[in-house]
Amino acid sequence: MHIKQETTERHTLSVTVDNESGILARIAGLFSARGYNIESLTVADVTEDEKISRITIVTSGTPHVIDQVVAQLDRMIPVHKVTDLTRLGPHVERELALVKVAGTGDHRIEALRLAEVYRARVVDATTSSFVFEVTGGTEKIDKFCELMREVGLIEVARTGVAAISRGREAL
């Protein structure tokens, strides 16, 4: 007997929650307990009084599993609202990466040239290294890191995806 695998799709969810201790453990724990995937998760408080946090979760699963993820998140007591941005329609997704590249000579020049193409900013420099700050969609960051590997990438830190719907309507 073998375990069957099913085809999945990627969804970006926005979850507003009470900003209280343990909330992240609750959310992350739900995903592990029910066997859902987390590709990335970001969280920060977003209201003036710091009482509400916004969590952006990128998950993957069959459409049926995505429905369940939304419903299961929605029934948690500290959760105010769950929005499936992927299903809602056009939205903007961005993440930020800090990319450290070490090297000298041609590699160094090539790294700078590529950074310019990707509109990455140099936020730290030594005679043998750069730290680039780059923002964009996940694919752009992936591609940038891939290219930088060829010219001396030694370390990456990424924020994960923050996302918001397009247009004037708020969630």
Binding site: V17, D67, Q68, R75, I77, H80
Partner: protein
């Protein structure tokens, strides 16, 4: 300025303000301040169990039989972890429960202190919500909110972890209003969307072969919901089946009653589900024990699902119409609309004629015996002797539980206490104790197996201490019968570790706890034995020796379709393939 109270007194005062009458608990180091506060008051009755697991199940039995939330008080560390099974059980079966656990003082949290455990972390997945209280000023609001969460929407257990220093520290307390509770986002939807109710009523009026498939949600919605269900069945003329958890919501004496459905349900209930053109699921959740093989489940039926928990809808079975709301309210709205539109149901005669053909299979029949007591027969005799008294029946988990569900029929809600979702052996005795405390004048019987009863046998002492006249009726076949039955079915009768060896003498065990002990060994002793059990006004344990190798039928093997039901014992011995072995 309001006078300040200690955290322990705030807790007690909150419980009093919430109308709590009974707390099931066990003291320990981290709850000593609360126990001292309990000692100094007379408004709340504390019931001392013998192990914290017993407290949680007793609270479940109390809640399920009274409709009020069960309250548990245990210490930190092992007190909390012992309660975890009962908390999980309450989550699975949607039982309203509030568990207060002691915790080491806040400066000690995280230091691996004596009797410290991460209670909030451990119980995060087995509660509807939980709290760690770090400030006595927040305690009152949290206790009130915990009860609100435990009892509203889909009920469930809530844990409040209370560090010892917070129990001692002082703060002002005033009874909060519901609007002032901390979690503003929690607003369960009670009233169903009118358009969806309209659609449901249209579908019901058009159905030629409808089935009302009801569950524990009808019981949770309150006794009135059971009355509304009867009215809905009356106006629509539809047959009614129920899950294990929903038994009693619809009277078994009704000609519209099909019996329980699912793995050990009746032939007529499962066949009706299979051939129905409309299934109306009311407060049930398409559990795997109910549906059998999903791709063969009710293939011709449109499906309506009414549930207060949105996540239950489309979780396993895709439905045509999902309705979020309280099932009692939703049924009431359906009846109103049905009457207002002067709907008449389709002619149900052909459907009931078909159902009667299935009923004629008499799927609950069992081999008669004069030499040994058939367990089904014992339950039927118990029913004969007690049903006029409208007893509350609890069970442990296993064959005896399924036989009780099949053969001990119910007319009213809140009379049937069983561990359905989690399937917890050892549930029945403490649940019976909790039910007896909540219903002092009721006849409460735990129908047990000899293996299950040993899992919480220590609670006999609780019944003795509080003079609770619970009856424990053990169907003793010297096997973990359901395990053995599956070994018959799946593993060619290799009885790996399923024999109950070295059993105690249950009669002498009963006497050791100050109970009356009785043994029934022969068929002709059965009625007298039951009469003797009922005649004694204190707790009684009956060791009823039943046929050792009887199995529970009908049965849908795990992962099989409703139409693949096994009706006869001789169809079962064999070995199954790996796919079947992997199913629970």
């Amino acid at each position: 300025m309001t006078a300040e109270l200690t955290g322990a007194d705030i807790l007690i005062q909150s419980l009093v303000d919430l109308g709590v009458e009974v707390v099931f608990g066990y003291p320990g180091g981290a709850v000593l301040p609360i126990y001292d506060a309990l000692f100094k008051q007379k408004r709340i009755r504390h019931v001392l169990v013998r192990q914290e697991g017993g407290a949680a199940h007793a609270a479940e039995g109390y809640a399920r039989s009274t409709g009020k939330p069960g309250v548990v008080l245990v210490t930190s560390g092992p007190g909390a972890t012992n309660a975890v099974t009962g908390i999980t059980d309450a989550l699975m079966d949607s039982i309203p429960m509030v568990v207060i656990t002691g915790q080491v003082g806040t400066p000690l949290i995280g230091t691996d202190a004596f009797q410290e455990c991460d209670t909030v972390g451990i119980t995060r997945h087995c509660t509807k919500h939980n709290y760690l209280v770090k400030d006595p000023a927040q305690l009152g609001d949290i206790v009130h909110e915990a009860f609100h969460i435990a009892t509203s929407g889909r009920p469930g257990p809530v844990v409040i972890d209370l560090p010892k220093d917070v129990q001692v520290a002082t703060a002002p307390y005033r009874k909060p209003s519901l609007q002032a509770l901390p979690h503003k986002g929690y607003k369960p939807q009670v009233k169903a969307d009118t358009a969806l109710i309209e659609a449901a009523v249209e579908m019901m009026a058009a159905a030629e072969r409808p089935v009302l498939y009801t569950g524990g949600g009808v019981i949770n919605s309150g006794p009135i919901a059971s009355q509304i269900l009867r009215e809905l069945a009356r106006v629509t003329g539809a047959p009614v089946t129920s899950t294990l958890m929903g038994l009693g919501a619809f009277p078994a004496s009704s000609p519209q009653w099909l019996g329980m459905l699912g793995m050990h349900g009746t032939y007529e209930a499962n066949m009706a589900m299979n051939r129905a053109d409309l299934i109306v699921c009311l407060g049930a959740r398409f559990d795997d024990r109910v549906t059998g093989r999903l791709d063969a489940f009710a293939p011709d039926a449109k499906k309506i699902h009414v549930d207060i928990d949105r996540s239950s809808i489309n979780k396993t079975v895709r439905v045509d119409l999902g309705i979020v709301g309280d099932v009692g309210r939703a049924m009431e709205d359906m009846i109103k609309l049905w009457k207002a539109r002067q709907h008449r149901s389709q002619d149900m005669k052909p459907w009931f004629a078909q159902i009667d053909e299935w009923r004629a299979r008499n799927s609950l029949k069992y081999p008669a015996s004069t030499k040994e007591i058939m367990p089904q027969h014992a339950i039927r005799r118990l029913w004969e002797a007690t049903h006029a008294k409208k007893p509350i029946i609890s069970t442990e988990v296993g064959q005896h539980q399924m036989w009780a569900a099949q053969h001990f029929t119910f007319e009213d809600p809140n009379k049937w206490l069983t561990s359905g979702g989690l399937g917890t052996m050892g549930y029945g005795l403490p649940a019976a104790i909790g039910a007896q405390l909540g219903n002092p004048n009721a006849l409460v019987i735990d129908i047990a197996g000899e293996a299950s009863i040993l899992m919480n046998i220590q609670e006999m002492g609780t019944a003795t201490q509080y003079r609770l006249p619970v009856k424990v009726f053990i169907l003793n076949n010297e096997y973990m019968g359901m395990v053995r039955q599956w070994q018959d079915l799946t593993y060619a009768g290799r009885y790996s570790e399923s024999y109950s060896d070295a059993l105690p003498d249950f009669v002498r065990l009963a006497e050791a706890f100050g109970w009356k002990g009785l043994r029934i060994e022969k068929v002709d002793e059965l009625d007298d034995g039951i009469a003797a059990m009922l005649a004694h006004d204190g707790p009684v344990m009956v060791d009823c020796r039943v046929a050792k190798l009887a199995n529970c039928f009908p049965m849908i093997p795990s992962g099989a379709a409703h139409t693949d039901m096994i009706l006869e014992p001789d169809e079962v011995i064999g070995e199954m393939d790996d796919e079947a072995k992997a199913l629970v």
